[in-house]
Amino acid sequence: MATLTAGDVVNRIKAVMAVQGVAWNDATTRDRFKFGGPDTLVTGIATTFMGTFEAITRASDRGLNMIIPHEDTYWNDADNTVIAEADPLVYKTKVDFMTAHNIVVFRIHDHMHRQRPDFTFSGTAREVGLDPSTETAPNSHRFVIPETTLGELAARVKKVRGDDAIRVVGDPNAKVSRIATGAGMATPAVNMPDIDVVIGGEQREIEGTFDSPEYVMDAATLGVAKGWIILGHNMSEESGMQEMADWLRPIVPEVKVAHVRAGNVYWVPK
């Protein structure tokens, strides 16, 4: 069997992206090797939302030693290991595991967001029960659904997602039909006049460039129909990594490619 290195995989990713109109930006600090390097032999590939210890372990258990996470591995966006080393016990445990299991990590973030469609957005839509093909315009990330209440919509989203830690702001009885979706921190502001509900990943609660929670609370007081459904960064972007696995599979036919979930982040108390 031909041997496939992590460098081969990355070169193919760059080449196919370029053909598809996304020229590789070598200046990126994100889309780089985070552990191991181009010479590591690849036994299988796991795409995942985040390079969590859990995702790496689950991938390794399935014989997949190349991890392609959308987000970071060392608990900060720049993947500065000095920051992570401040907890030597957990950092070392994770690194020792990666060493022992011949893991190679290559992050794919900036270039993935430049692809069209941006899989994180189509993933978000699918994840909350919206068909990406029904966007009001291609890549608009907007949907119009039959009128319902914010409470019913949120309950439907939670049922499809199956995760407890979904947070909602707004009057549950507000009548809504026009939805804008966001992935990760790219959660759109909720004050657009032609939008009733934003379904997003993560956004600052206060002191951002626009604080949607307070706006929606005031809208509720005034009887203006607005809603904000926040899935969590992980929940909003994880399913896009399924699409990324599907995209990768044909370009690396030598090995198995699978989507491995990074694991639930939060639980909620009673």
Binding site: I83, V90, E202, E207, T209, T221
Partner: protein, 363 residues
């Protein structure tokens, strides 16, 4: 916190009079009234933190010369809180969070109508002065014109449109030009204008006080004050409790709904608690978690502290992480603020009003 009673109010006023026995009758009468500006001046003088000229802790709405009838502190000056303040007879609201939906805190939507975005800060439609009158310059000097996120002063043709206070009704706010009026900004501004409210943001300086008022207030609410171990009220060693029970207790005591979330083994035993109030960066989480059983914080970036806590738990290290939400986290600090303000503003009642937890969870 409890609303100040009439008896307390009389007692405080009397105490003030006793403390200044040599004032004549006229001085006493004038001492009975206090303006928003005077209260802010007392805050600056007594807060114990050097007052910096930032554009965060400033007046956000209303005329600082307004005679104050009562003070309300809150974690966030939502319209609901403003309504409750009016019901309580208060007209000065001191808030930890922004009033107008962003750190820039402009009373009109940036980039949509009302001319340059910078105009909203110093000269929003809710600023003092009667319709048609020249704009009052003092609020603008209070909030630092041209600083921070503000654009340079708008050109002459734009300025009058944003500084002339609109008529009182919502319909009359409509401009001659077509940009859509944001009904939420308009509704909040109209309420503030109608009730002549004054809103002042107090957060950066307040949270620099030591002990940290948010930690101090949270510990008091949870009954942990006697268990304090660390500096600045940030560390506690409490009787053993499971992580899940602790999270539930926090939720009930702080009145949280959907905003409280946790990471870690629910059954693990917690004794050592580290409080990291407000927005917490990864460096602070990593510096704290290895030395405690659980971190309780306001808000983090999910790809930082939350993922770190996830990895800690997956590595089998028994440590927990609880995020209670920024607004819920600010509330105890603003309760402490109300208690403190009572000591420097004896003339009028001071009370805390909760903004609640913005979040709920679907069933």
């Amino acid at each position: 916190m409890t609303e100040i009673s009439r008896r307390d109010f009389v007692a405080l006023t009397a105490a003030g009079a006793i403390a200044t026995p040599f004032l004549d009758a006229a001085s006493l009468r004038s001492a009975a009234t206090v303006t928003a500006q005077e209260i802010v001046d007392r805050i600056k003088k007594n807060i114990g933190v050097e007052w910096g000229n930032d554009d965060v802790d400033t007046f956000k709405a209303g005329d600082p010369a307004t005679i104050v009838t009562g003070v309300v502190t809150t974690s966030m000056a939502t319209l609901d809180v403003l309504q409750k303040a009016v019901q309580a007879g208060a007209n000065l609201i001191i808030t930890a969070a922004p009033t107008f939906y962003s750190r820039a805190d402009l009373s009109t939507p940036a980039g949509r109508g009302f001319g340059a975005s910078g105009a909203g800060r110093g000269a929003g439609p809710n600023r003092g002065g009667s319709p048609g009158a020249a704009p009052v310059p003092s609020p603008a000097t209070m909030s630092g014109p041209g600083t921070g996120a503000s654009a340079p002063m708008p050109p002459a043709p734009v300025l009058p449109r944003s500084v002339v206070p609109p008529a009182q009704t919502l319909a009359a706010v409509t401009l001659p030009t077509p940009p859509p009026i944001d009904p939420v900004y308009a509704g909040k501004n109209a309420f503030i204008e109608k009730h002549k409210l004054v809103v002042f943001r107090l957060t950066q300086h307040w949270n620099q006080r030591r002990p940290d008022p948010r930690a101090q207030g949270l510990a008091a609410a949870m009954g942990w004050t006697k268990y304090k171990t660390g500096e600045y009220s940030l560390g506690y060693e409490v009787p053993a409790i499971s992580l899940e029970a602790l999270a539930s207790q926090l939720k009930k005591t702080l009145g949280a709904r959907g905003g409280i979330r946790a990471i870690g083994d629910r059954t693990m035993t917690v004794r050592k608690i580290g409080l990291l109030p407000g927005f917490t960066m990864i460096q602070a989480s990593i510096a704290t978690l290895p030395n405690v059983d659980v971190i309780i914080t306001g808000e983090v970036q999910e790809w930082e502290s939350a993922t770190y806590a996830q990895d800690v738990a997956f590595a089998g290290v028994k440590r927990g992480f609880i995020s209670i939400g920024r607004v819920v986290n600010e509330a105890p600090g603003m309760q402490v603020c109300a208690d403190w303000l009572k000591t420097i503003v004896p003339e009028v009642p001071v009370r805390f009003i909760s903004a609640g937890d913005p979040y709920w969870r679907p069933l």
